[in-house]
Every structure is written in C-alpha cells, then in structure tokens.
Symmetry: C2
Subunit: 309 residues, 2 copies
C-alpha cells in the first residue's frame, strides 16, 4: 500500500477520501484538514484564547497538539473525576496529560481541576449517593464536566476567560449521537447538534474541530507522532448505548465505506439548506443560579449546585 | 410461555407489545390491530372496492385474508413477472395465490396480469436488454408493477376501478426504507413516506394496512392459519440494500426490543406534529402519457411505455 502523494509506504487507507497516506503526509493532511474545519465552521481565530478539554485520550490530545502546531493559543483543561475502580483510571489519565506536555509541548499551559479536592467528593461517590446518579454515573459525570468546563472557560484560573471550549469529539462520536437522536426523533436535540454551539446567556461557545475525522484517523495521527494516551475506556462507560450504536455504525461503514461521513455531513447540509427543519425545544428562560451564577433552567439553584446539597 | 389473555400455550412473544399470545388470540389480535390501522389512517371503508397486490408471499396473502375476514370488498391482483431463474419462481408464486383462494376463500376474485403474455416480454428479459435494467432488475420490476397496479386500480379488468391499492408492506419493510432515506437525508422521500398515499392526478390511492406489524407477526399469522406461501426471496433481490439494512435493524431490535417500531411511529408522529418538516421535491408537472394515458413527469411518453420502444 503506497502513499497517494509520494509513493512511500502508506500507514493508513482512508477509503471515504480515496486516499492512502504515509506517516509524513498523514500528519500534513491531518493538520490541513483541521484548519479547514476551523475555517469552514468559523470556530475561532488566532487571537482567540481556546480552552481544550483534555481527558488523556487520543482525540483530545491530538486536538491540543494540532491546535498548538497551527499556532493557536490553546490551553488544556483536565478535570480530575476521581475514577479509580482499581485501575487508577483518573490518575493515569492525568499522567498522560502531563507526559504529553513534557514530551511534546513543554511550554503549554495545563489547568487541572480536581473535583474531589475542590468540591469535597469525587464523581463515583456522587453517582452512588445522589438520585441523579442511580444506575447512570455518566449523567452525573457529564453534568460535573459541563459545569467546570464552563466555569473555567468564562473565568479561567483567575486570569480571564476563553473564547471557546474545544472538545475532541470525532465523526464516530457525532454520528453515534446523531443516530441515537434520529432513532428516537429527538427533534430538540437534532435542531442543535452541530460542530459549533454559539455562546449564549453565560454558556461558553463550544467547538468541535475534529467532527470530520474518523476515530481511526485520530488514532493513526497520535500513533505516528508517538503521543502516548490512555487506551482504556472509562470503566463506567462500558456497555453504554453509544458504544453499541458505534458498533452498528461500524458494520454499516464496513459494508458501505463513507456511510457515516455521508450521514453526518448530509444532515448538516440538509439542515443548513432548510431541506429539513427540526423544531427547537420550547425556549426556556435561563437565569443565574443563586449559588454559582451559572445559567440554569431549574429553580433557584442549578443542577450542579444541587448535587452538593 | 403462556398466552397473556387465556393462559394457553403461547405461539408468539411480542416484546414490544409486552404480550404473548396463543394461536387463537394471535389471530384475534392480528385482525383487530389491522382494523385499527385502517381506521387510524383512514385507509378505506366497507363500501370501497380494494385491490390487494398479492405476490404469493406471506405478507400479501395475510393481508388479503384479513381484509376478506373483516368483510371488505378485497380483490387480489397477481402480476406475473416471468421470473424463472431455474426455480420457477413466478409460476410457484401464482400457484400459491390460486391455492390460497381455493383453500381459504373460494369466492374471492383474483385478477392476473402476465407481463410476458400481455406486453410481449417478461421482466428478466427487459432487465437484461434495457438501459434502465442494467445491474438493477429491481428498478425495471418496480416500474412495471407500479404501472400495472395503477392501471388495474383505475380501470379494473374492464369492470370499473378500485378505491385503493393495498400492499402488504410490514413494519420491517417500512423501517428499512426509512433508515435508508434517513442515512442519506433524502428529504423528498422522507416528506412522502406514509401508510397512505392519497390519490392524485391519475395515480391511485395506496394504503399499507400492515405498517405496524413486524414481519414475524405476519409470519406467525399465516403459520397458525395454515396459509401456504412462497418462502423464497426473489432471486433478483438477493444482496439488495434493503436486505442488509434489515439485518442491521434486526440487530438493533435484538438489543433494544421495540426500537424499530419506535423509530417508525415516532417519525410519523414528529412529522404530523410539525416537529420535523421535510422539504418536498420541487413539484413537477404531471401530464398524461401519449400512449397509455397514465401520468408521467417525463417527456411525451412515460417510463413504462418507453420500455417497449
């Protein structure tokens, strides 16, 4: 298998792009294609300060790496969830982030918020003891992460805010969510799912520069660059609906290469062109939480602050 | 496994309905549920003459059987496509229709149109020799069937027309089409897919009373009633995209019972409620074909008539 650009040995065959690339040209293509997504969806500019949510996994580390190489002011945010489960999951994840910085970008800034230290209880304990967590730790975890990301994005570590939160969601992630939302015709979610969520009423702008990359492409990128990352899935996420949906979509892709990409990009195109219109959820009044000040639709106190009551 | 209604041995477990039924109560439920679909979607009334498109397969024979038992004026239409492929496929299919009539409804009227006899060439020959058929005999076959069904529905066998064409499409069929259309965001098709297509400009009304039945439910119905049918899939349909889509959906259903039903019914509900709006294809002028008089969007002559040029 030869590189489509230079004839050297290719490390990846991307059937949906009809392209095979060697390590060098993969890295080049990957960076160019990220830049194009940033431009196409008008995500942020070089003068913007961008907060990259890093988990220690391949997608978020690849994203941080590319943004730094492209010259963006990208700082990392690691949220310590306190997930151990006899695997030291969270500790290892943080270690991967530190290793990434020291091996690849020694000058990069990594913000770390440890949920247990800062708020008194880690996510597994919250999930076990709060009604919201019963049988679904991912729900508590998502709430905690969204709150902290938003807090740091708006105010930084006391050093001013960021223009956007960038997450490493890839095409496989987005397509799995899209299929789930479509199978249930969750029109409110379908109206909003997008590579960019604009800032509104105290909620920071969110961008996903990797929405057009297949997971295997980000995996190849970190592999050829020797970026070490945490391979294991979160022990709580096992058996999650999205994992199953991803399996189904992988079968589809195998049978019909490019099917995932087409499903997602055609969705965006058809919606942008008004060929499909999804009703937004009835707009609910957002007001500031009396305790933390972040916007909420609930009563006086937001769902995050109620976790600690 | 016991019948949810009478405690007798159940022959089917319908997890999405949380119901297990014995042979007797399955038949009762099946008839009631068909009647409810006819009412819910306002398909036809007892005074209407209904043309049931029968292929000799389980779904269409079950449909004809139920409609007759419910007291509707249902006549059958069998279209002889001339598919042999060393299996005598079409001959066997017709034989099943005749056997159904003589064993179950000796007074029922079966109209037979043999494509080869009436038009000079059977479908396999057309598919081999016409541009439209190259590599996709199903396209020619669909065109021929739609034309003949419409012709007979509008004019009968010289004995006046029918109020509607009823086809045996079941939930599995509809969901496979829905998923295909959704994966490609074919908004024009998504705007139109429905249990009822209204009559318009010379195109007969089409109804699908079985859209809420899983294939295994119609299979159980014909089994307990001893209705014999052609088991084999059409030899030309093997490997068709819908077969593959059905496999994927079966995996989904196994993991999440009721998922198919929910996908389809939520689609109809969301669209009816205006929560999702699909743009119709730009409305094209329909005019009568100069040869057959059926409506066409093409030039002077419709696609069916051009087959014979």
């Amino acid at each position: 298998m030869k590189c489509s650009k230079c004839g050297a040995i290719a490390v990846i065959n991307m059937r949906q792009h009809r392209r095979r690339l060697c390590a060098e040209h993969l890295v080049e293509w990957f960076m160019t294609f990220t830049q194009r997504a940033i431009d196409k969806y008008d995500m942020f500019a070089p003068e913007d300060r961008v907060l990259v949510a890093v988990s220690g996994g391949k997608d978020s580390l690849a994203l941080w790496d590319v943004l730094l190489k492209l010259g963006y002011q990208a700082e990392g945010l690691y949220i310590g969830l306190g997930i151990d489960e006899e695997l030291g999951y969270s500790d290892k994840s943080l270690e991967m982030c530190h290793r990434f910085v020291s091996n690849h970008h020694p000058d990069a800034v990594l913000h770390v918020v440890d949920v247990g230290e800062e708020y008194g209880q880690a996510v597994p304990h919250l999930a076990r003891t709060r009604l919201r967590g019963q049988g679904r730790p991912c729900s508590v975890c998502g709430l905690v992460k969204r709150h902290i990301m938003n807090r740091v994005a708006l105010h930084g570590s006391g050093d001013g805010g960021f223009s956007a939160i960038a997450t490493g969601h890839n095409l496989d992630d987005e397509v799995a969510v899209l299929l789930q939302n479509t199978l249930h015709w969750q029109t409110g979610y379908l109206a909003r799912q997008a590579p960019v969520l604009a800032e509104r009423n105290g909620l920071a702008r969110k961008v996903k520069p990797f929405v057009r990359f297949y997971e295997r492409e980000t995996a190849a990128y970190v592999l050829v660059l020797g970026i070490d990352y945490i391979y294991d899935e979160c022990p709580f996420a096992q058996g999650a609906t999205t994992s199953y949906t991803k399996e189904l979509l992988n079968e589809l892709e195998l049978k019909s290469p490019g099917a995932k990409q087409q499903f997602y990009l055609e969705f965006l195109r058809a919606r942008d062109a008004g060929k499909v219109v999804f009703a937004e959820r009835a707009s609910v009044e957002l007001h500031p939480c009396v305790r933390c000040g972040q916007p909420t639709t609930a009563g006086d106190m937001c769902a995050f602050c109620r976790l600690w009551e």
